[in-house]
């Protein structure tokens, strides 16, 4: 069923499996700056608004994210080896049933292991009231690191999570280590099985991170696809500093069309409110970007879209141009759900064929995914 043009096919499938399991996941791996941080917060907010009933939980998740993102931004340069892939900063949020799992990661000098370990162990040894006292104590004594209060940030994250902080160091090389900080905020006390839950989910994150490094995946979004999340994802792309202006523009156009296609044409087997579920990820391959988007659609529309992509892929440059011009002034199909101009625009702007992949889920729905290389 898959086309040969489709790369990371296996990965797309595993993402698809994850999509069915998790209600939300967002992964960003790379350089962090204010714009990236803002985009991550606004994207998560879209999902928190549509999914999270408890405003208390919403605030906690948000606060932990803010602290965690600040931590990565502050510490992403704590290693001498900035250019190797495995030292990229990492942010992951997952939601599975009623639980959120928030992970931040950054490379750091092995020398800082004892300091961080001591601080987290101290925080984890304190109960709720003791943490409050400790927070004030650190605040008053000005026991701040030269980076501006990472200690306070950790205490605050522990307080907001209502649980212990999980962490892990995994060696990168003889000087550097990768530091994972994993938080599972809950309103109820989970203490009896918390250690097991936290260990398993952190194991899973480390495994995901290995795949991200191997496939050079920069971003994964799995959640509600509506105009708001589209804007959040576009903001992430704008904040992506590593690309040239022309490439950034191209990426912006293509992501915009790919996602708007999902916003308009996707179906929703679970009937969730606020938008249809979809996934989107960006990976890099020999200096090229691979953009992949996937969504559910009704089986009866699959053939039409499939045919359309095949048709567009087989056009010569001249034919493509003519077809585009024709569609541009064809106002008849304005109101229909036909994917006309968008699909051909993807091919025209990327200069490449459109990869596509589909998997029938049941009698009503198919998972359909598009891939563009730029």
């Amino acid at each position: 069923m898959a086309t040969t043009e489709f790369e990371n096919l296996k990965f797309s499938l595993s993402l698809f499996d994850a999509m069915q399991k998790d209600n939300l996941s967002y992964v960003y791996r790379g350089f962090f700056n204010q714009q990236i941080t803002d985009s991550i917060l606004s994207l998560t907010e879209v999902n928190l608004q549509t999914e999270e009933q408890s405003s208390k939980m919403k605030k906690r998740v948000y606060a932990i994210m803010v602290e965690g993102l600040q931590n990565i931004t502050r510490h992403q340069n704590d290693t001498a080896n900035k250019n190797i892939q495995s030292t990229h900063g990492l942010f992951i949020i997952k939601r599975n049933e009623d639980k959120y799992y928030i992970t931040t990661g950054n490379a750091t000098d092995k020398k800082s292991i004892p300091v961080i370990t001591k601080l987290i162990e101290k925080i984890n040894s304190l109960d709720k009231d003791e943490l409050k006292v400790y927070y004030k104590q650190v605040l008053n004594e000005g026991e701040l690191s030269d980076k501006g209060g990472a200690g306070l940030g950790l205490i605050d994250m522990a307080r907001k999570s209502g649980n212990k902080l999980s962490y892990r160091f995994i060696d990168i090389n003889e000087n550097d280590t990768y530091f994972y900080l994993h938080t599972i905020p809950t309103l109820k006390d989970l203490s009896t099985d918390f250690n097991k839950v936290a260990k398993d989910s952190l194991d899973n994150i480390v495994e995901i991170h290995n795949t991200l490094n191997k496939e050079d995946i920069r971003l994964i979004y799995n959640g509600v696809m509506n105009q708001e999340s589209l804007k959040g994802l576009l903001q992430t792309i704008e904040g992506h500093l590593s690309d040239s202006a022309d490439q950034k523009n191209k990426m912006f156009y293509i992501v915009m069309e790919m996602l708007q296609n999902i916003v308009k044409h996707a179906s929703n087997p679970n009937n969730e409110e606020g938008g249809n579920p979809g996934i989107f990820f960006i990976s890099e391959n020999n200096g090229k970007h691979l953009l992949t988007a996937g969504n559910y659609m009704k089986n009866e529309h699959v053939k039409e879209l499939n045919d359309k992509i095949k048709y567009v892929n087989n056009l010569s440059d001249k034919e493509m141009d003519d077809y585009y011009n024709h569609s541009l002034f064809d106002f008849e199909i304005d109101d229909s759900k036909k994917a006309g101009l968008g699909i051909i625009d993807l091919r025209l702007k990327s200069g490449n064929k459109i990869g596509h992949f589909l998997k029938e889920i049941d009698n009503n729905y198919t998972f359909f995914s598009l891939q563009i290389q730029i």
């Binding site: 202006a245 523009n249 915009m256 069309e257 708007q260 541009l328 106002f331 101009l341 702007k349």
Partner: protein, 124 residues
């Protein structure tokens, strides 16, 4: 005739349609979910304008990004301007960033498809 000013949002453009001052401009970003709805009043304005136009009409497109559904609405506006250009002076000023070759190409495409004078202006 009444002027129509629409302030920009994060996904819709700034629109200035000012008959008295001869200023017609669409700028910033145009990526609305529903471009037909957004552009309907704009197209109505152009329809009215065409009935009693200024002696010279200059329309400025200073877009940063636009999606394909906006592209169709821009095509609609250009068709109205093509009609107007049959008996009037009409000039389209198409601005594009030097780092955005796609915006330049889009303008060139339109200029080949409608019979209206285009001027291309590169922004550094």
């Amino acid at each position: 005739m009444e002027k129509l000013i629409i302030e920009k949002t994060s996904d819709t453009p700034k629109v200035i349609l000012d008959y008295d001052n001869g200023k017609i401009e669409i700028s910033e970003r145009s990526l609305p979910e529903n471009a037909i709805d957004f552009y309907a009043p704009v197209i109505d304005w152009f329809n009215d304008y065409s009935k009693n136009p200024n002696s010279d009409t200059v329309v400025e497109f200073k877009l940063e990004y636009f999606n394909t559904s906006s592209a169709k609405q821009i095509a609609k506006i250009l068709l109205l301007l093509q009609k107007l250009a049959e008996n009037n002076n009409v000039l389209i000023k198409w601005y594009y960033s030097s780092s955005d070759s796609d915006m330049h190409s889009s303008g060139i495409r339109y200029s080949k498809l409608v019979k209206v004078n285009f001027e291309f202006i590169e922004i550094k």
